[in-house]
């Protein structure tokens, strides 16, 4: 069983975001890129399947700053092969990334492709279903559980209100992971460092980035809220006192 996991790097939303002077994209000068949190769940789900059924897990990521750490961390968690796709991905949209990834993923003859269900910078759809289109495989997203048996996948697909649909999917397939069956495992920094010495990142070159299919953005801006919360300031005691007054006004105390 060949499991391929696709990983994207996205802006860290904990950091302050700014728009650059062109006015239509994020200022990358101060941007910290981190692994898309849903891709982290995809890695966990892939490793869980490997532990249960045996599989070769390959993690594929675009060459962006910080990608080596992301790949070595995946190796420390149990990934067998690491592939970095070379190319200028800094402004690449998901359509371009899907085409670049699919050319390389096809050669790996996957049985199952896993990726995060969405990413915080998606503007032209998400990577998983775009890949499924390129690879001509079926796709199911919002997955929070995967079982394998008889060449078929049983997946748990999330709907609003906590409802789950059990979808049977024939292989090969692409799944968009919302949450792995258990929280992504923690690995010690020392183990990641060890991987840097013992495992290798294979480099592949994308056939050129084709952005067709995504929108052209004319303006990016930080939303000016129609309303903003009335801010309560002071030391913790004072803030608490004001909140208690509000609770009383609202009739819960």
């Amino acid at each position: 069983m060949n499991i391929i996991i696709l990983v994207k790097l996205v802006p860290d939303l904990v950091e302050e975001l700014a728009i650059d002077s062109s006015g239509n994209k994020l200022d990358t000068a101060w941007l910290r890129m981190i692994i898309n949190e849903f891709d982290d769940h995809a890695i966990e789900q892939g490793i869980l399947l490997k532990e249960r059924h045996g599989a070769v897990v390959t993690v594929v990521a675009p060459d962006l700053e910080g990608v080596d750490d992301v790949l070595f961390t995946a190796a420390a968690k149990g990934a067998d092969k690491l592939i970095k796709i070379k190319g200028d991905f800094s402004g690449a949209n998901n359509h371009a990334m899907a085409r670049a990834f699919s050319a390389i993923v096809k050669e790996l003859q996957p049985d199952l492709v896993l990726t995060g269900v969405q990413a915080n910078n998606d503007l032209d759809g998400s990577l998983g279903p775009l890949m499924a289109g390129c690879l001509e495989m079926p796709y199911v997203g919002y997955i929070s559980g995967v079982t394998l048996g008889d060449g078929k996948l049983k997946t748990r697909k999330e709907y609003p209100g906590g409802l789950i649909a059990e979808m049977d999917v024939s292989l090969p397939a692409v799944l968009g992971i919302q949450a792995a069956e258990q929280p992504p495992r923690y690995v010690a920094v020392s183990k990641v460092r060890q991987m840097m010495k013992t495992s290798t990142i294979e480099e592949r070159t994308a056939p050129g980035l084709d952005m067709a299919g995504g929108p052209t953005i004319s303006r990016m801006f930080q939303p000016e809220a129609a309303q903003h919360a009335t801010m309560i300031t002071g030391n913790p005691e004072e803030v608490a006192t004001k909140l208690v007054t509000i609770f009383k006004e609202l009739g819960v105390l």
Binding site: P11, L13, V14, E16, L17, I19, L26, H95, V117, N120, D122, L123, D124, G125, S126, P129, L130, A132, P138, Y139, V140, G141, Y142, K154, Y159, P160, G161, G162, L163, I164, A165, M167, D168, V169, G176, A179, P183, G213, G214, P215, T216, S218, Q222, P223, A225, Q227, A229, T230, I232, T233, P236, V239, A240, T241, L243, V244, I246, F247, V252, L253
Partner: protein, 329 residues
Amino acid sequence: MNQDIYVVIEHLRGQVAEISYVMLAGGRELAKGFGGSVAAVLLGNKAQGLAANPSPASGQYLAVDKVLYMDHPALSDFTSDAYQKALAELIARDQPRAVIFGSTSIGTDLASTLSIKLNLPMVSSCSSFSADGKFTSQICGGKIMAEGELPGPTALITMVPGGYKTEQGQNSQAPTLTQVEISSVEPVRVTLAGYIEPESGDVDIAKEKVLVSVGRGIQNQDNIVLAEELAKALGGVVSGSRPVIDQGWLSTSRLVGKSGKHVKPKIYLALGISGAPEHAEAITDSDTIIAINTDPAAPIFNIAKYGTETDLFDLVEVLTSQVKAAKGG
């Protein structure tokens, strides 16, 4: 080719999903500019009633100029493969100006793949449109908006809630239904095995008057107790956002958000919750939202009535004891 706006109606187990009305309202805005009509695209099996009859909840119909109905046994419940094949055929045949899907478990399974398959451009997470054909999308957890011209010839769009009210996509007039023939949806590679009902859990957070809700900012499982004590003092219960549930710190029945419960308490006290769109859409019916978050740019402050940047770890214990004192006195 035409200038019509097609809206793919989402329905689940015999009920039209609310996002469908939001999409119809957005579609109407676009149709004004492009001069086309708004068509609801309904896929199902003997499901005409979903469009022909008014919604049991509101007594209103889908606000559309026409309904295109595709009937097939394989379409009775949503599955990505069969729905996609049916829609690919319709879109390729009619070439409308835009096709709107929900940015949901259903819509996102369809739009991107169709974009590759039909070689049509797509825009995701749109919250609103202008009559001159511009879209506005929400990215980076609601912290950034992106604007542009709707691409052509046919734009595939996914929409998030927030820009339009459901009433804007409803009216009192029964629409006309036209049946659209489907040649084949075979082979179907994705099938529905069944539904698993939501975990009932010990409490129903949708019915609680006071929710103390925790997000990523609570940092670890040991800190949940801070929220529990405050909730207890206020006569409420603890709920959480997605990251907290995924870490296993609270059970799934306590999830507030897109895949969890939509809540409407008297007070929604958000501790360390950023207020990403997936969470925000589920709490907007709360009477009063109070947000405690050290990030002044957190989108939660745009929907909260009261807020404070005081660190929750400095505040919550003090607040709990003051609440207890107030009750005692």
